[in-house]
Protein backbone atom coordinates (compact mmCIF):
# COMPACT_ATOMS: atom_id res chain seq x y z
CA UNK A 1 0.00 0.00 0.00
CA UNK A 2 0.93 3.66 -0.53
CA UNK A 3 3.83 4.54 1.68
CA UNK A 4 5.12 0.99 1.74
CA UNK A 5 5.23 0.87 -2.05
CA UNK A 6 7.07 4.16 -2.25
CA UNK A 7 9.60 2.93 0.29
CA UNK A 8 10.18 -0.39 -1.36
CA UNK A 9 10.69 1.20 -4.77
CA UNK A 10 13.32 3.46 -3.24
CA UNK A 11 15.03 0.43 -1.76
CA UNK A 12 15.07 -1.15 -5.22
CA UNK A 13 16.40 1.97 -6.89
CA UNK A 14 20.07 1.12 -6.46
CA UNK A 15 19.90 -2.62 -7.00
CA UNK A 16 21.73 -4.12 -9.96
CA UNK A 17 20.14 -6.35 -12.56
CA UNK A 18 21.29 -9.39 -10.61
CA UNK A 19 18.02 -8.88 -8.75
CA UNK A 20 15.83 -9.91 -11.61
CA UNK A 21 13.12 -10.86 -12.45
CA UNK A 22 11.23 -8.88 -9.83
CA UNK A 23 7.86 -10.19 -8.69
CA UNK A 24 5.70 -7.60 -7.00
CA UNK A 25 3.04 -8.92 -4.66
CA UNK A 26 0.49 -6.54 -3.22
CA UNK A 27 -3.00 -6.40 -1.80
CA UNK A 28 -6.00 -6.71 -4.09
CA UNK A 29 -7.54 -3.69 -2.37
CA UNK A 30 -4.53 -1.53 -3.29
CA UNK A 31 -5.42 0.80 -6.14
CA UNK A 32 -2.32 2.93 -6.43
CA UNK A 33 0.64 0.63 -6.15
CA UNK A 34 0.35 -0.85 -9.62
CA UNK A 35 0.80 2.54 -11.26
CA UNK A 36 3.79 3.40 -9.09
CA UNK A 37 5.44 0.07 -9.79
CA UNK A 38 4.89 0.25 -13.54
CA UNK A 39 6.27 3.77 -13.62
CA UNK A 40 9.36 2.66 -11.67
CA UNK A 41 9.92 -0.34 -13.92
CA UNK A 42 9.44 1.72 -17.07
CA UNK A 43 12.18 4.08 -15.96
CA UNK A 44 14.36 1.15 -15.08
CA UNK A 45 13.88 -0.42 -18.48
CA UNK A 46 15.47 2.70 -19.98
CA UNK A 47 18.75 1.76 -18.34
CA UNK A 48 18.52 -2.02 -18.18
CA UNK A 49 17.17 -3.44 -21.40
CA UNK A 50 16.35 -6.93 -20.16
CA UNK A 51 14.48 -5.75 -17.11
CA UNK A 52 11.70 -8.15 -16.14
CA UNK A 53 8.96 -7.93 -13.60
CA UNK A 54 5.55 -9.37 -12.76
CA UNK A 55 2.61 -8.23 -10.65
CA UNK A 56 0.47 -10.40 -8.42
CA UNK A 57 -2.38 -9.51 -6.12
CA UNK A 58 -3.32 -11.35 -2.96
CA UNK A 59 -6.17 -10.78 -0.53
CA UNK A 60 -5.22 -8.26 2.11
CA UNK A 61 -4.45 -10.12 5.32
CA UNK A 62 -5.54 -7.45 7.72
CA UNK A 63 -7.09 -3.99 7.62
CA UNK A 64 -5.71 -1.34 9.94
CA UNK A 65 -7.01 -1.91 13.44
CA UNK A 66 -8.94 -5.02 12.48
CA UNK A 67 -9.81 -7.17 15.49
CA UNK A 68 -7.54 -10.04 16.54
CA UNK A 69 -9.90 -12.91 15.86
CA UNK A 70 -10.96 -11.77 12.42
CA UNK A 71 -7.32 -10.97 11.61
CA UNK A 72 -6.35 -14.58 12.24
CA UNK A 73 -9.06 -15.76 9.86
CA UNK A 74 -8.15 -13.33 7.11
CA UNK A 75 -4.44 -14.02 7.53
CA UNK A 76 -4.98 -17.77 7.26
CA UNK A 77 -7.00 -17.15 4.12
CA UNK A 78 -4.20 -15.01 2.72
CA UNK A 79 -1.65 -17.71 3.54
CA UNK A 80 -3.69 -20.34 1.71
CA UNK A 81 -3.86 -17.99 -1.23
CA UNK A 82 -0.17 -17.06 -1.26
CA UNK A 83 1.13 -20.60 -0.84
CA UNK A 84 0.52 -21.60 -4.48
CA UNK A 85 1.79 -18.21 -5.64
CA UNK A 86 5.03 -18.51 -3.68
CA UNK A 87 5.41 -22.08 -4.89
CA UNK A 88 5.02 -20.91 -8.48
CA UNK A 89 7.48 -18.03 -8.11
CA UNK A 90 10.04 -19.91 -5.98
CA UNK A 91 11.89 -16.71 -5.05
CA UNK A 92 15.53 -16.65 -4.00
CA UNK A 93 14.95 -13.44 -2.10
CA UNK A 94 11.87 -12.00 -0.48
CA UNK A 95 12.13 -8.31 0.24
CA UNK A 96 9.33 -6.84 2.30
CA UNK A 97 8.76 -3.75 4.36
CA UNK A 98 5.79 -4.02 6.57
CA UNK A 99 2.29 -4.16 5.15
CA UNK A 100 0.24 -7.08 6.45
CA UNK A 101 0.42 -8.44 2.90
CA UNK A 102 3.98 -9.55 3.45
CA UNK A 103 3.33 -11.88 6.37
CA UNK A 104 1.42 -14.58 4.44
CA UNK A 105 4.02 -14.55 1.67
CA UNK A 106 6.87 -14.96 4.15
CA UNK A 107 5.04 -17.69 6.01
CA UNK A 108 4.47 -19.49 2.70
CA UNK A 109 8.16 -19.17 1.91
CA UNK A 110 9.09 -20.55 5.32
CA UNK A 111 6.80 -23.52 4.79
CA UNK A 112 8.32 -24.20 1.38
CA UNK A 113 11.74 -24.04 3.01
CA UNK A 114 10.74 -26.46 5.75
CA UNK A 115 9.37 -28.85 3.17
CA UNK A 116 12.66 -28.73 1.31
CA UNK A 117 11.05 -27.28 -1.80
CA UNK A 118 12.74 -23.88 -1.90
CA UNK A 119 14.70 -21.91 0.62
CA UNK A 120 14.25 -18.15 0.18
CA UNK A 121 16.23 -15.51 2.01
CA UNK A 122 13.83 -13.17 3.75
CA UNK A 123 14.95 -9.58 4.12
CA UNK A 124 12.63 -7.30 6.05
CA UNK A 125 13.13 -3.54 6.10
CA UNK A 126 11.07 -1.76 8.73
CA UNK A 127 9.44 1.44 7.55
CA UNK A 128 11.16 4.76 8.14
CA UNK A 129 8.05 5.76 10.11
CA UNK A 130 9.02 3.30 12.80
CA UNK A 131 11.39 5.14 15.10
CA UNK A 132 10.68 3.65 18.50
CA UNK A 133 8.36 0.69 17.98
CA UNK A 134 8.03 -2.04 15.41
CA UNK A 135 4.97 -2.60 13.29
CA UNK A 136 2.99 -5.78 13.88
CA UNK A 137 4.51 -7.33 10.75
CA UNK A 138 7.91 -6.34 12.06
CA UNK A 139 7.31 -7.93 15.44
CA UNK A 140 6.37 -11.18 13.76
CA UNK A 141 9.07 -11.21 11.11
CA UNK A 142 11.86 -10.17 13.48
CA UNK A 143 11.97 -13.81 14.44
CA UNK A 144 11.43 -15.32 11.02
CA UNK A 145 13.47 -13.17 8.69
CA UNK A 146 17.08 -13.78 7.75
CA UNK A 147 17.91 -10.10 7.87
CA UNK A 148 15.85 -7.53 9.71
CA UNK A 149 16.75 -3.94 8.87
CA UNK A 150 15.77 -0.92 10.94
CA UNK A 151 16.29 2.72 10.06
CA UNK A 152 16.63 4.37 13.44
CA UNK A 153 19.17 3.70 16.21
CA UNK A 154 16.56 3.31 18.97
CA UNK A 155 15.19 0.22 17.27
CA UNK A 156 18.65 -1.25 16.85
CA UNK A 157 19.07 -0.96 20.61
CA UNK A 158 15.73 -2.57 21.33
CA UNK A 159 16.15 -5.30 18.73
CA UNK A 160 19.79 -6.25 18.82
CA UNK A 161 19.54 -8.89 16.09
CA UNK A 162 18.50 -6.21 13.63
CA UNK A 163 20.74 -4.50 11.11
CA UNK A 164 21.09 -0.73 11.18
CA UNK A 165 22.27 0.99 8.02
CA UNK A 166 20.91 4.45 8.76
CA UNK A 167 18.12 5.90 6.64
CA UNK A 168 17.93 3.99 3.38
CA UNK A 169 14.78 5.35 1.76
Amino acid sequence: TGGHTTEILRLLSCLSESYSPRHYVFADSDKMSEAKICSFEQKRAETFSNSQFTLDRIPRSREVRQSWTSSVVTTVYSILYSLPLTYKLKPDLILCNGPGTCVPVCISALLLGLLGIKRAIIVYVESICRVETLSLSGKILYYFSDYFIVQWPDLKKKYPKSVYLGRIV
Binding site: S18, L93, V123
Partner: protein, 103 residues
Amino acid sequence: FRFKESLAEDLRRADLVISHAGAGSCLETLEEGKPLIVVINEKLMNNHQLELAKQLHRDGHVFCCNCSTLVETLQSMDLSTLKPFPPGQPEKFALFLDKVFGF
Protein backbone atom coordinates in the same frame (compact mmCIF):
# COMPACT_ATOMS: atom_id res chain seq x y z
CA PHE B 1 -9.12 20.48 -3.14
CA ARG B 2 -9.79 17.30 -1.29
CA PHE B 3 -7.47 14.93 -3.04
CA LYS B 4 -4.81 15.22 -5.72
CA GLU B 5 -2.77 12.44 -7.30
CA SER B 6 0.45 14.24 -6.53
CA LEU B 7 1.30 17.27 -4.50
CA ALA B 8 4.75 17.57 -6.02
CA GLU B 9 3.92 20.70 -8.03
CA ASP B 10 2.33 22.48 -5.10
CA LEU B 11 5.23 21.48 -2.89
CA ARG B 12 7.77 22.92 -5.25
CA ARG B 13 6.00 26.28 -5.36
CA ALA B 14 5.44 26.51 -1.61
CA ASP B 15 7.48 28.62 0.80
CA LEU B 16 6.10 26.97 3.90
CA VAL B 17 4.17 23.76 4.44
CA ILE B 18 1.76 23.08 7.27
CA SER B 19 0.84 19.43 7.43
CA HIS B 20 -0.48 16.60 9.53
CA ALA B 21 2.08 14.15 10.81
CA GLY B 22 1.71 11.56 8.05
CA ALA B 23 5.07 10.14 7.13
CA GLY B 24 4.67 10.62 3.39
CA SER B 25 3.72 14.27 3.80
CA CYS B 26 6.59 14.99 6.17
CA LEU B 27 9.25 13.21 4.16
CA GLU B 28 8.20 14.56 0.78
CA THR B 29 8.21 18.08 2.13
CA LEU B 30 11.59 17.76 3.80
CA GLU B 31 13.08 16.23 0.69
CA GLU B 32 11.94 19.25 -1.30
CA GLY B 33 13.80 21.34 1.23
CA LYS B 34 10.70 23.22 2.36
CA PRO B 35 10.17 24.43 5.92
CA LEU B 36 7.52 22.34 7.61
CA ILE B 37 5.19 22.79 10.55
CA VAL B 38 3.65 19.52 11.65
CA VAL B 39 0.26 19.82 13.33
CA ILE B 40 -0.41 16.97 15.67
CA ASN B 41 -3.87 15.85 16.61
CA GLU B 42 -3.32 13.15 19.19
CA LYS B 43 -6.97 12.14 19.20
CA LEU B 44 -7.17 11.30 15.53
CA MET B 45 -3.88 9.69 14.89
CA ASN B 46 -2.42 6.25 15.09
CA ASN B 47 0.15 6.38 17.83
CA HIS B 48 2.95 5.24 15.62
CA GLN B 49 2.51 8.10 13.20
CA LEU B 50 3.66 10.41 15.94
CA GLU B 51 7.01 8.66 16.27
CA LEU B 52 8.40 10.07 13.06
CA ALA B 53 7.08 13.58 13.66
CA LYS B 54 8.57 13.60 17.15
CA GLN B 55 11.92 12.38 15.92
CA LEU B 56 12.03 14.92 13.12
CA HIS B 57 11.22 17.59 15.67
CA ARG B 58 13.93 16.35 18.05
CA ASP B 59 16.43 16.45 15.23
CA GLY B 60 15.45 20.02 14.43
CA HIS B 61 14.00 19.40 10.98
CA VAL B 62 10.42 20.50 11.63
CA PHE B 63 8.32 22.62 13.94
CA CYS B 64 5.58 20.84 15.83
CA CYS B 65 2.40 22.17 17.28
CA ASN B 66 -1.23 21.26 17.77
CA CYS B 67 -4.32 22.95 16.37
CA SER B 68 -4.61 25.44 19.19
CA THR B 69 -0.96 26.51 19.13
CA LEU B 70 -0.64 26.82 15.37
CA VAL B 71 -1.15 30.57 15.22
CA GLU B 72 1.35 31.17 17.98
CA THR B 73 3.87 28.94 16.22
CA LEU B 74 3.42 30.81 12.97
CA GLN B 75 3.97 34.10 14.72
CA SER B 76 7.05 33.11 16.68
CA MET B 77 8.85 30.67 14.39
CA ASP B 78 12.34 31.26 13.10
CA LEU B 79 12.75 29.26 9.91
CA SER B 80 16.51 29.65 9.95
CA THR B 81 16.69 27.33 12.95
CA LEU B 82 15.44 24.40 10.92
CA LYS B 83 18.14 21.93 9.97
CA PRO B 84 18.31 20.54 6.44
CA PHE B 85 17.14 16.98 6.00
CA PRO B 86 19.73 14.80 4.27
CA PRO B 87 18.27 12.25 1.83
CA GLY B 88 18.15 8.54 2.60
CA GLN B 89 20.83 6.33 1.10
CA PRO B 90 19.45 3.33 -0.74
CA GLU B 91 22.99 2.68 -2.02
CA LYS B 92 23.83 1.39 1.44
CA PHE B 93 21.01 -1.09 1.18
CA ALA B 94 22.22 -2.23 -2.25
CA LEU B 95 25.74 -2.72 -0.91
CA PHE B 96 24.41 -4.70 2.02
CA LEU B 97 22.29 -6.96 -0.14
CA ASP B 98 25.13 -7.50 -2.61
CA LYS B 99 27.27 -8.73 0.26
CA VAL B 100 24.56 -11.12 1.39
CA PHE B 101 24.40 -12.68 -2.05
CA GLY B 102 28.07 -12.43 -2.81
CA PHE B 103 27.65 -10.15 -5.83
